[in-house]
Symmetry: C2
Subunit: 237 residues, 2 copies
Amino acid sequence: MSNVCFAYVHVREAISQQIIEQHLTGSLPSERELCATYDVARSTLRQALGQLEHMGLIYRKNRSGWFVCPRKLKYDPMQHTSFLQYTTAQGFQPSTKLVEQKKQKPCKEIAAALELDARTSLTSILRVRSVDGRAVVVENLNFSNKHLPDIDKHDLSLSISILLKNTYHQHDVLYDVTVESCCLFNPIAQLLDTYDGALGLKVTRIVRDKDGIAFEFDREFWRHDALMIENKAKLHF
Amino acid sequence: MSNVCFAYVHVREAISQQIIEQHLTGSLPSERELCATYDVARSTLRQALGQLEHMGLIYRKNRSGWFVCPRKLKYDPMQHTSFLQYTTAQGFQPSTKLVEQKKQKPCKEIAAALELDARTSLTSILRVRSVDGRAVVVENLNFSNKHLPDIDKHDLSLSISILLKNTYHQHDVLYDVTVESCCLFNPIAQLLDTYDGALGLKVTRIVRDKDGIAFEFDREFWRHDALMIENKAKLHF
DNA sequence: GCCCCTTTTTGGTATGTACCAATTGGTGGG
DNA sequence: CCCACCAATTGGTACATACCAAAAAGGGGC
């Protein structure tokens, strides 16, 4: 049936079957141990593990071994439901850690996306969000101070969607979201407890008010194995 | 500034800069040649090339070397615009090859998604779509014969969205789309002219009529470096 | 029982070598 | 000029080995 002429394919399928049949949970044996089990060189084993990682079956915590992936989080970037809301609804224990908050001038990418000139002030926050103790996404949110006066005076560790709705009366907004495959490099990789060059999914979001004026620019760097993007809509022709 | 203590990081950054500054176009030199250039072992070089591949900067055609990636296709899976339409609008030359068309019973996954019993007949097609001569996505479309009578009698190599609209009067439909990172295995990898275990993005789509009855189940396997998913919407709170 | 220090294990990086099969490029014959 | 055949190149697979630094495990003292 399947392609078993190569050693790494054999190892890959053997381990993946172990995981799917749930004979393997939590952490995997050490690499040298697995080499002995399957009688392959360590580089061959690591090739197999790398593919299992790409499949989203296993992941590695920086320098401390391989682990079976928990189930994926379902996430709809077009919805304004909060992280707390959709994670708990799926039975996860969410947590958020604010890494940094500052006022700064926009970089080129943001200036272009928000159509700002380079001197406009932005309130920028960086935070790491985890489910069940595992860091899954690094978020970088940027708010235009011009369009959201005194936004930096509020507590941005609370729900920002509620703040926008109640304080700034943003009831009708335009979302412009992109999703693409990416690589996670330091220092973002470190915040996600993974390695420089790990695989990720990058979600960017431009939020505009009802007149089309952009006031928010977000970048989300997800562990590639942590989420499944979900999107429901009614279409008319 | 950046992390340059390791050889593979050095090679990665050197080649990526070459590409970004456009000193490198089309195909890369052979691996052994690059080893000599950067004075590293082949496995180290291949580690660097692998990460550049994950970044979407380079790709490999099955056994015939490394190439600089063309620009990404922008794609909105929530829109009913045709492949022909959105690729040409972005300046690409699209083409589609029908690989297989058959009537069959649903597999477990499809039966569950469409809420069909295992004896219902499905019309299933498999096709490969390319832009500028490069295969970018393998599509597997499945239509319920029960809900779309005689769908297999039509020419499914033409636009199916027009067929649904004009012949089956599906003007109001519900889309249920998911996107996730995946691995491309044979035989799909071969259709995309890539290798077993290559990185991909999997898009699944369930289409329902206005009463919520599912009549179509699609799976799209994209080269991870070929697309950027784009999604615009107006939201109200 | 808890904490600190040492030892061992282990993942991350790196090299060199080897063989095979597919592709490519070149050569010669029709 | 084209096609068929052959040789050289090249990517894909595989192994053995080595070293380092971080993490985990173990042991000893309080």
